[in-house]
C-alpha cells in the first residue's frame, strides 16, 4: 500500500499525554543581561566578531525598529511585551560557532539526542543534514563536508557572514527588508544565528537540509535568521523543526526567513513548528512572531511552503511568495492546530508580478478547546501579472464548541486576465463520525487522531517522508483531551 504515513505508529504513540519536549537542560551558558539598546546590538555583533558592515546593518535595523509600532491587526490578544525584560543573548559556554563532534559539550549532544536529533552522522537519518541551533548559537552542522563536494553551502548564519560575505551582503534583507515590519526589524537588529544555504547553478542538493531550533535558556528571546539561495536550475528541500522547555513564563521567538529562487530553481521549505504551546490553562508558551518570505526571482522558478503548526501560545506568521519571474510558481500548504488557549493567526501572501505566474494555497485549520484559529491570506495580481492564476482552499475543522475559526481572505486584482478561485469550508468532528469509529473498536482519542490526519492529508503528503510520520504524531498529541 502506498499510504503515506502509517497511522498505526501514530496511534500507538498517542498514549503520551504531555508536551514531550518540555524538559530543560543544565547547560552552562553565557547570558547577557536583560534589556535592549544599541549596546546590546553592538555586544551581539562583537560576540560574533562581525565585520563593520554587519554591525552597521544591525544598527540601522535597530534605529528603524525604535520608530516602529507593534502590529495590532492580527486576531490575537496577549499582554504587552516588555522588550527590556528579555535576554537577547544566550550561548552554551566556551564554544564559538560550530565544532567537530568531539569538541561539542556532551550535555548538548545529549539534549539533541533526547529531542530525537542525534548529531552524530553515523546515527542520523541518512539523507538529512542538520544544523542544530540552541538558543542564540549554532551547535553543530552535520554533513557539511559531503555537501561541500557538490558546492552546496550549508552553515550557520554567523559562519556565512565570515566565510561568504559577498553572498550575505547581496541577499540579506533583499526579500524581507530591515523595516518590513516591527518584528522583522527587531530580528534584523538582534538576530543571533540560523542557517545559511546556497545551492549553486544546476545542482540538485543531494540531501534534505534541516535546521533544528531549540530554546533552552530562561527569559531569553530567540531571533533566528535563515537565508536560502537557490541559483539557476538548482533544487533544495529544507526542513525546520523547533521545540522549547515547558515554562510558566512566555518567551518570544521572532524569526526571519528569506528565500531566493533564481531562474528554473526550486525551493521546498517545510516547517514542523512545535514550540511549547503553554499548559491546558493557557499559562506559558512561546510567542511565535515570524516573517517568512520567498521571491521567485527568475523565470519558471518555484517556491513551496509547507507548514505543520501545532505549538506556540500565540502564532503570527504568513509565509509568502513574490512571483516575479514569468511562469513562476508559489505554493502554501498549511495545517495549523490550536488547542486549549492557543491562538494562531496564520496564512500567506501570494504576490503575482510576472506573466503566467501560478499559486496554490491549501490551508487546514483545526481548532479545539478554547483556542482561536485564523486564516489570513492575500492574493494580489499586479497589472503585469497577465494570465496569473491562483487557487485557494481554506478549510476549518472545529472540535467542540468553545473554540473559534476565522477566515480573512484578501484579494487584489489589477489584471483582468488573471484567475482567482477561493473555496472555504467549515466542518465539525461530529458525534456520528466518532461513534462510527468507536463501534469499530477505535477509542475516541485515536478516532480524533485518525479523522484529523485524514483531514490534513493533502498537506501532510507534501512533507518529506521522515517528517510526515513525525507530523502525524504531533497532530495526534496536540489534540489529546480535546474531546470529552
Amino acid at each position: 500500500m502506498s499510504e503515506v504515513p502509517d497511522s498505526q505508529h501514530v496511534l500507538d504513540d498517542v498514549v503520551q499525554r504531555e508536551y514531550q519536549y518540555g524538559f530543560s537542560s543544565d547547560i552552562e551558558q553565557e547570558l547577557l543581561e536583560k534589556g535592549l539598546s544599541e549596546d546590546t546590538v553592538r555586544f551581539i555583533s562583537a560576540k560574533k566578531q562581525e565585520p563593520e558592515w554587519m554591525l552597521e546593518w544591525r544598527l540601522e535595523a535597530f534605529r528603524t525598529w525604535q520608530r516602529m509600532k507593534e502590529p495590532t491587526w492580527p486576531n490575537v490578544t496577549y499582554p504587552v511585551i516588555d522588550f527590556q525584560d528579555i535576554i537577547y543573548w544566550a550561548a552554551p559556554k566556551k564554544k564559538e560557532g560550530p565544532a567537530s563532534l568531539d569538541e561539542v559539550d556532551p550535555e548538548l549532544l545529549a539534549t539533541f539526542e533526547k529531542l530525537g536529533i542525534p548529531l552524530d552522522e553515523q546515527k542520523m537519518l541518512t539523507g538529512v543534514a542538520v544544523d542544530a541551533v540552541l538558543d542564540s548559537v549554532s551547535v553543530k552542522t552535520t554533513f557539511q563536508e559531503a555537501l561541500k563536494k557538490v558546492g552546496v553551502i550549508f552553515c550557520p548564519m554567523s559562519e556565512a557572514i565570515q566565510e561568504h560575505p559577498d553572498l550575505v551582503r547581496r541577499y540579506l534583507g533583499s526579500v524581507v527588508p530591515v523595516g518590513d515590519n516591527f518584528y522583522a526589524a527587531l530580528n534584523s537588529a538582534v538576530f543571533s544565528d540560523g542557517s545559511f544555504v546556497y545551492i549553486p547553478k544546476g545542482v540538485r542538493c543531494p540531501m534534505e537540509l534541516s535546521t533544528y531550533f531549540r530554546i533552552n535558556a530562561r527569559n531569553t528571546g530567540q531571533f533566528e535568521r535563515t537565508l536560502i539561495i537557490a541559483d539557476e536550475g538548482s533544487y533544495v528541500s529544507y526542513l525546520e523543526g523547533c521545540t522549547a522547555p515547558q515554562r510558566d513564563e512566555n518567551q518570544l521567538h521572532a524569526a526571519v526567513v528569506e528565500l531566493v529562487a533564481h531562474q528554473d530553481a526550486e525551493i521546498k521549505y517545510s516547517t514542523v513548528q512545535n514550540w511549547y504551546p503553554g499548559d491546558a490553562e493557557g499559562k506559558g508558551g512561546i510567542y511565535n512572531f515570524v516573517t517568512k518570505r520567498g521571491i521567485c526571482e527568475g523565470a519558471r522558478s518555484k517556491i513551496s511552503w509547507t507548514q505543520v503548526e501545532t505549538g506556540s501560545a500565540v502564532t503570527w506568521k504568513y509565509p509568502s511568495c513574490v512571483l516575479k519571474g514569468d511562469h513562476s510558481i508559489g505554493e502554501f500548504y498549511s495545517v495549523a492546530v490550536t488547542n486549549h488557549y492557543q491562538q494562531a493567526d496564520t496564512g500567506t501572501k501570494m504576490i503575482h508580478i510576472g506573466k503566467n505566474t501560478r499559486s496554490r494555497i491549501v490551508s487546514k485549520g483545526i481548532s479545539a478547546g478554547r483556542s482561536q484559529n485564523s486564516y489570513r491570506g492575500l492574493v494580489r495580481m499586479n497589472a503585469t501579472a497577465t494570465n496569473g492564476w491562483n487557487y485557494s482552499q481554506c478549510d476549518s475543522l472545529l472540535i467542540g464548541d468553545q473554540c473559534g475559526a476565522h477566515t480573512f481572505p484578501y484579494l487584489e486584482t489589477a489584471n483582468s486576465t488573471a484567475t482567482v478561485e477561493h473555496e472555504a469550508t467549515t466542518s465539525k468532528i461530529g458525534e456520528d463520525m466518532l461513534f462510527y469509529c468507536n463501534q469499530r473498536g477505535i477509542d475516541t482519542e485515536a478516532a480524533v487522531a485518525l479523522i484529523v490526519n485524514g483531514y490534513a492529508r493533502d498537506v501532510i503528503n507534501q512533507l518529506p517522508m521522515e517528517f510526515a510520520v513525525e507530523a502525524q504524531k504531533l497532530l495526534a498529541i496536540s489534540l489529546e483531551g480535546s474531546v470529552g
Binding site: E431, N438, A446, L450, R457
Partner: protein, 255 residues
C-alpha cells in the same frame, strides 16, 4: 450453553421520549434473528442502544453479552468484545482510506485480545480475501472511507468490515435498503459466508425480500417499541402477504 445475547425488559428513551418499551430477546450461538417492523417502530434505536450510542438512556432492563453486562461497557469495548453494527447510514471520513481505517480498527481489536498488529503484507492479503466475499474492488481500499461511495457500495463496505472484524454478534440495520437485486444477492452471500455455529446475527429489515437470501431461525416483529410477534421464518412471509396493519390491529386488540 451461554446465550450470546440476552435482552430482558429493555426500556430506552431519547430526549425524554421512550422509544423502546420493554424488549425481550435471546440469541443462542449459531442463530440468526430477523427483526422486522414498520418505519419508526424502534429497530434502529434497538441497534444503537446495543452498540452504545450515548444519546439514548436505558431506563430499565438488562442486556447480557457473553455473560457480561453489556450496558456497562463503552462502545469501543462492546466492539472489541465482538459486537458489530452494520450501520443503516454509514458515515464518510474524508482523507482516511478504507485500508487505513480498517487497520486502526483491526489492530485496536487485536490489542484488546493481547495480539500484536498484523504485518502490512498479511493485512493486505486478508483485506483482499475478505473483499472478495462481497465482490468489492480492491481499488476501494485506497479511497477515503465511504466518501463518494454509492449507497450499495457503502453497504458492501459494511459487510466487508464485518468480515475483517469477525464479530460474534453482528447487527445488520437495513443492510438491504438501497440495493438492487444483484447487489442484494452479493451482500447476502457475503453475510451467509460468515455464519458459523458460534456466532449470532440480528438482521433488521423492513422487507421480507432479504430473508429469502439470509434465512433466519427466528423472526420478531417490532412495533411501537415492543416485540409484538415472534415466529419462524414463515412469519416473514405472512407479513409480506398481509402487511404490518394486520399486526398493528391484532396487537392493539391484545394490548
Amino acid at each position: 450453553m451461554t446465550p450470546i445475547l440476552e435482552i430482558t425488559n429493555l426500556h430506552a428513551s431519547i430526549d425524554g421520549t421512550e422509544i423502546l418499551k420493554g424488549i425481550n430477546l435471546t440469541i443462542q450461538p449459531g442463530e440468526v434473528h430477523a427483526v422486522m417492523g414498520p418505519n419508526g417502530s424502534g429497530k434502529s434505536t434497538l441497534a444503537s442502544v446495543l452498540a452504545g450510542r450515548e444519546e439514548y438512556t436505558v431506563t430499565e432492563g438488562t442486556v447480557v453479552f457473553h455473560g457480561h453486562d453489556l450496558l456497562d461497557m463503552s462502545p469501543e469495548d462492546r466492539a472489541r468484545e465482538g459486537l458489530f453494527l452494520a450501520f443503516q447510514y454509514p458515515v464518510e471520513i474524508p482523507g482516511v482510506s478504507t485500508a487505513n481505517f480498517l487497520k486502526s480498527a483491526v489492530n485496536a481489536q487485536r490489542a484488546h485480545r493481547g495480539l500484536s498488529p498484523l504485518e502490512p503484507a498479511e493485512f493486505l492479503a486478508l483485506m483482499k480475501e475478505r473483499m472478495a466475499l462481497v465482490e468489492m474492488n480492491p481499488a476501494f481500499l485506497q479511497r477515503s472511507l465511504n466518501e463518494g461511495f454509492s449507497g450499495g457500495e457503502k453497504k458492501r463496505n459494511e459487510i466487508f468490515q464485518m468480515a475483517m472484524l469477525e464479530p460474534t454478534l453482528a447487527i445488520l440495520d437495513e443492510t438491504d435498503s438501497g440495493l438492487d437485486i444483484d447487489a442484494l444477492r452479493i451482500v447476502a452471500n457475503g453475510v451467509n459466508a460468515q455464519r458459523t455455529p458460534h456466532n449470532g446475527m440480528i438482521v433488521i429489515t423492513h422487507y421480507q425480500r432479504l430473508l429469502n437470501y439470509i434465512v433466519p431461525d427466528v423472526v420478531h416483529v417490532l412495533w411501537n417499541g415492543r416485540i409484538v410477534r415472534t415466529g419462524g421464518k414463515d412469519l416473514a412471509l405472512t407479513l409480506e402477504e398481509r402487511g404490518y396493519d394486520w399486526i398493528k390491529t391484532e396487537s392493539s386488540v391484545e394490548a
